[in-house]
Amino acid sequence: MTSIDDYVARIDGTCGKDKDVIVTFRYEKKDEAVKKILEKASLKKSVAGIVFELTFKNHSFRLYGSGKAILRDLKDKQELNALLSELLF
């Protein structure tokens, strides 16, 4: 069965006052992950086709063509996993 770990290489909390989360997708799966997320989330803005400002169920976040996403205002890891599951599956 496919899991989040099949897509996600790293999850890092950012350094700074804003406690954002950076998700790095696995290199071999990043294009697939980006495609899936773009299909599910609503596009607010795209910059040069490499940076996407998206919204999905009250969450706004940025997705980068390099296979990284920066997510904000998440309560905990459970909420992050739930969001990633909905976006990726």
Binding site: T14, G16, K17, D20, K45, V47, V51, Y64, S66, I70
Partner: protein, 413 residues
């Protein structure tokens, strides 16, 4: 003048691409890249000379010991110390500060004493003292920082007193690149009978440093920020001060003798001579060889040339950054003669991490966050900052590309 295009040929990593773009490495304040010469020297050590140092008579150990001792001598010469006795190899600047805090501070700081640090310090020059103050009960006082990021010398003069036992200050801020007048601060500290500890992590790699001229008592720096490997750094300590101190760690190498006393049923220990008294256990010999080669590389270029090159790049970058996008702000002083090649900045409406990820898409590496200096960000009223930092292999063309991408960021808002 150094030629960055020639220098770049020595750095294998600069040939790679990141996200299909040529790598532009502007995160040098975090760690520098390594030239082929350093990588080769370490490979040669492990392939041809590897053995543990000291106290063995065989050929390989003698070769390794000679390399390890020469590394101390060449580092001493590089910062103009009086000799290798004043050069203690540690893991990095953090360990250098901790060594002073625990080997000197733990034994000498009493409840009525005071330690002075500044609000622009890296956490590694704050946290060890805060931990120790909880054990010993001494007070820590912080020198204020002006709105442009410069040190408030008046605040320092107001804080220092006969109670002050040590003053802890960074030579160059790792956030703003501002160069502090540590010589002036050291003179005042000594007038009050206090010791002077300097965090030189951001100065030794980027400018000529002469510890005798600065007249400081302790000076720490890291190998990995000056072309050397990670895991090795240096604590310079004035010989008389080091001689009066007990060791930091206990173990092999740092003792001359351990003998069991049958009457007391205890071991009596005689410490080894400097600097080995402070280097317990098997040291990072390969790292020392790499650091020595890094020092040789920088000496060949000339530290004045390194400083000049970075100043030129910063002078080139600053106005272009400020003019490329209305919402971009460069933090701290813009006086390039008062700072090294570190430029902190932000773009209104974007977090520093967004900026860093945006640039990463184009193969440009900058750091984002607090850079381990949260108090300074609080002074600037910033949640975090992005930081571009330059070194000997960076070029104007790279800055031009950086500016182009910053413009694109500005247009995207």
């Amino acid at each position: 003048m150094l030629d960055p295009y020639e220098i770049r040929k020595d750095f294998p990593i600069l040939k790679r691409k990141v996200n299909n773009h040529p790598l532009i490495y502007f995160d040098n304040a975090a760690t520098s890249q390594k030239p082929r010469q350093v990588i080769d020297a370490m490979t040669d050590f492990y392939e041809n000379h590897n053995a543990n140092v000291h106290r063995a008579v065989h050929t390989l150990s003698q070769e390794a010991s000679e390399l390890y001792e020469t590394a101390h001598e060449e580092v001493a010469e590089f910062i103009d110390a009086r000799g290798m006795e004043e050069i203690v190899f540690v893991r990095g600047t953090t360990e250098a500060v901790n060594l002073v805090a625990y080997a000197w501070g733990l034994r000498n700081l009493k409840k009525e004493d005071e330690v002075i640090a500044s609000l622009m310090e890296h956490h590694s020059n704050i946290v060890p003292w805060e931990i120790l103050s909880k054990l010993n009960g001494f007070k820590i006082k912080y020198i204020e920082v002006n709105g442009d990021g410069t040190l408030n010398y008046k605040s320092f003069e107001n804080l220092i007193s006969k109670k002050t036992k040590v003053v802890c200050l960074s030579h160059v801020s790792n956030v703003t690149g501002i160069i502090n007048d540590v010589k002036k601060v050291a003179r005042t500290a000594h007038d009050f009978g206090a010791l002077m500890l300097v965090d030189g992590a951001q100065s030794v790699p980027h400018m000529p440093v002469n510890v005798k001229e600065l007249d400081v008592d302790f000076f720490g720096f890291s190998g990995h920020k000056m072309l050397g490997p990670t895991g090795i750094g240096v604590l310079y300590g004035r010989r008389e001060v080091l001689e009066g101190m007990d060791p930091f760690h206990g173990g092999g190498e740092m003792i001359r003798e351990v003998s069991f006393n049958k009457q007391t049923k205890r071991c009596s220990i005689t410490w080894n001579v400097l600097p080995w008294k402070f280097e317990a256990g098997t040291p990072d010999i390969g790292g020392a060889v790499g650091l020595m080669e890094a020092v040789r590389y920088l000496k060949r270029i000339g530290m004045e040339n390194v400083k000049e090159h970075e100043e030129t790049l910063t002078k080139y970058a600053l106005p272009r950054m400020e003019n490329c996008c209305e919402k971009l702000e460069v933090y701290g002083t813009k006086d390039t003669s008062a700072k090294c090649g570190i430029v902190p900045f932000g773009v209104e409406g974007l977090s520093s991490h967004d900026i860093a990820l945006f640039l990463d898409n184009y193969g440009i590496m900058v750091r984002s966050g607090f850079h381990c200096a949260q108090p300074l960000h609080e002074i600037f009223k910033l949640n975090s900052s992005a930081r571009a930092s330059f070194y000997i292999y960076n070029t104007r063309e790279e800055i031009d590309r950086f500016i182009e991408v910053l413009k694109e960021i500005g247009q995207s808002l």
